[in-house]
Amino acid sequence: MDINFTKEDIAFRDEVRDWLNNGGYPKHVKEKTDKGITISKQDQIDFHKALAEKGWMGYNWPKEHGGTGWSATQLYIFNKEFGLAGCPPLLAFGVSMVAPVIWTFGNDEQKAKYLPDILNFNTWWCQGYSEPGSGSDLASLKTKAVLENDHYIVNGSKTWTTLAQHADWIFCLVRTDNSGIKQEGISFLLIDMNTPGIEVKPIITIDGEHEVNSVFFTDVKVPVENLIGEEGKGWTYAKFLLAHERFGIASVGASMRQLNKLKKIVSELDNPELDKKIHELEVSLSALEITELRLLSALENGGHPGAESSILKIKGTEMQQNISQLYVEAAGEYAIMYPGPHGYLSNDKPAGPDYAANSLSAFLNLRKTSIYGGSNEIQKNIISKFVLGV
């Protein structure tokens, strides 16, 4: 048993750090994220393009499709270092979600058409899964696609669609059949966001941000060649995709960064109650980190991390929320200041300390983490069923 990384892994880590610190990670993006300012669409593009240029956009792709072919340990290191550096979370919808579906279930034309653009971040993807009536019960979705000649006619709506306002493409679960059990009539469709009949309406969240949207489809014509795999098999592809969604779910690196910043702030406050809460989180974060490493070890050893990774989702999101909660406490009465929808620059002369201005909006923003990607209650159902067998 050895908790230390190999020399090769450490060399890899140093390479990642070097990219992050010495100009790879775009400076203008870094400046904003260091200050907690929301980054723009162009910033996102610059960041991901820089990554693509380095050859790291396909961080979790096999080499045959132009990816890095990294080991699970390398992926972990990559993700942790990006978190520690305060990078924005990588946009998963193209590279990490739709791409594996395309290379696994798509045909050669589809692979050739979509994968290179994803790898170079030429296309911005979003995800059309949730609907107003189907959240945790995804299979009850109602958006309908009817085949007419060589086109599907899509009608319905999707919701909580992250950054759809910037997206070029959306991958959708649509209902092509109502006759059987609800899982069986679902198909997986790629839709160009510029197609007539698509309307994107912002949903403003309680932190004042425009991150998610409703997407409405009215007689949207989608070429039949945009269907992935077989009609009616969409649910299978969706489940396959979900299994690929786990990358970096524990957010250990990002939480470490936040907790370390917080420790510095609180060290000047003479607040023993807050100190104690921070120490408790430090212990919990250590437990979370090792839990992820244990799963990684099992994986590298040929094991199949199953529902146990739900632990990482639950505890990773609780950790992020709890840290943000302590930022709010550290800000004291200044936590009530509204930092505006684009970080504290809109409140450019905050009366309190700098960190206060962002503390509450981060706290509010992170509420979503225990809701999306399968709510933490759903994760517990999964553990109960598949790990405890009850």
Binding site: S134, S140, E329, I336, M337, L360, L364, R367, S370
Partner: protein
């Protein structure tokens, strides 16, 4: 022993509830919030017409002479409707301070507050003082005021500001017009859709008759005013907590997933039970605190602190649970539920958070 509301108190609550239902539904509130003003002056006029702006002032000063119980009723209902109008700043913090003071000009000021024609803010806080409101770096020397106050509730909309400062080493309260030369006001929004300001005073000349109180009298006025305000925001929190569990029960009953309302899931049921229980327990502490304040007992600070400490913990948790059980809808600005969370966090931060008041309770 009788912990039932009187008929008058029940009627007061119904009156406020009716008002909030008909004049202050969430849609109306959103319009006010999104307008260029910090609050709706028409609503304020209606408050005056209902007599609510006169509630806590003694009858000899032209008020209704209502006590902490009635104020708590008002704030509970304000909490449920998430009212943003600056009742706390003008009526509670500044108005009741004036009412209890020996300030010679107070009658005129209170009259204008009651009629809705004047807003006054209390500038009690300074940066990095850690809720110690008796500790001030603002000075009054030879009638010249210098210093900077932060987090002045409704400071950007007030006609006058009551300022705590140090004169001859003693805490002193002065009242000045907001447009006096040397006063600069930087107003910003708070997370719960209200407003507050940083106000700095640079060689501001003060009239001789601007001093409200000095030394022990000033300290007591500040302590009482902030204690009453703490009670009020706590009552507001209790209203929020009640709405949180009621709205969550309603939502989960209507939300179907897996072919049934999600209120069928036992885990959600027990979570809502916890929210209900915490709401009732907070209400009990509110009863204790408001009755101690009303009887002006020695323990009035202690029990307000007990209440504030509890709602700081359980109120935030309840609102978080409410958001969680609303799923995506919980984090959407269009639903009321997320705004309760913002309100609860804001209340915890105001006048000392949960840990602070637990210590104060124990001391």
């Amino acid at each position: 022993m009788n912990l039932n509301y009187s008929e008058e108190q029940v009627m007061l609550r119904e009156q406020i509830q009716k008002f909030c239902e008909s004049e202050y539904d969430f849609y109306t509130r959103e319009k006010i919030v999104k307008s260029s003003d910090d609050f709706d002056s028409n609503v304020w006029k209606l408050f005056a017409e209902q007599g609510w702006l006169s509630m806590p002032f003694s009858e000899e000063n032209g008020g209704l002479g209502f006590g902490a119980v009635e104020l708590a009723v008002l704030f509970e209902e304000f909490g449920k409707a998430l009212v943003i109008e600056p009742y706390l700043a003008t009526v509670v913090l500044s108005g009741t301070l004036l009412d209890k003071s020996n300030y010679s000009k107070k009658n005129d000021l209170i009259e204008k507050i009651c009629s809705g024609d004047m807003h006054i803010s209390l500038a009690y806080a300074e940066a990095n003082k850690n809720y110690d409101y008796l500790n001030s770096d603002t000075t009054l020397d030879n009638n010249i005021l210098n210093g900077t106050k932060t987090l002045v509730l409704n400071g950007g909309n007030s006609d006058k500001v009551i300022v705590t400062c140090i004169k001859d080493k003693k805490l002193t309260l002065v009242i000045i017009d907001s447009n006096t030369k040397g006063v600069s006001i930087n107003s910003f929004k708070t997370i719960d859709d209200q407003s507050c300001a940083e106000i700095s005073f640079e060689n501001v000349e003060i009239d001789n008759d601007a001093i409200i109180a000095c030394d022990l009298e000033a300290i007591e006025l500040i302590n009482e005013s902030i204690n009453l305000a703490t009670l009020c925001v706590s009552a507001e929190a209790v209203g929020c907590m009640e709405s949180c569990y009621l709205k969550t029960v309603e939502y989960t009953k209507g939300r179907e997933q897996f072919g049934q309302p999600i209120s069928n899931f036992q885990v959600l049921q027990h979570r809502m039970v916890d929210m209900f229980v915490e709401s009732e327990l907070a209400k009990s502490l509110l009863f204790k605190a408001m009755l101690e304040v009303d009887s002006n007992s020695e323990d009035k600070y202690k029990h307000v602190s007990a209440l504030k400490s509890q709602i700081g913990r359980s109120g935030k948790l309840s609102a978080q649970d409410a958001v969680q059980l609303h799923g995506g809808m919980g984090v959407s600005e269009e639903m009321m539920i997320g705004h309760y969370l913002k309100k609860m966090v804001s209340i915890d931060a105001l006048f000392g958070n949960s840990d602070y008041h637990l210590k104060k309770f124990a001391s």
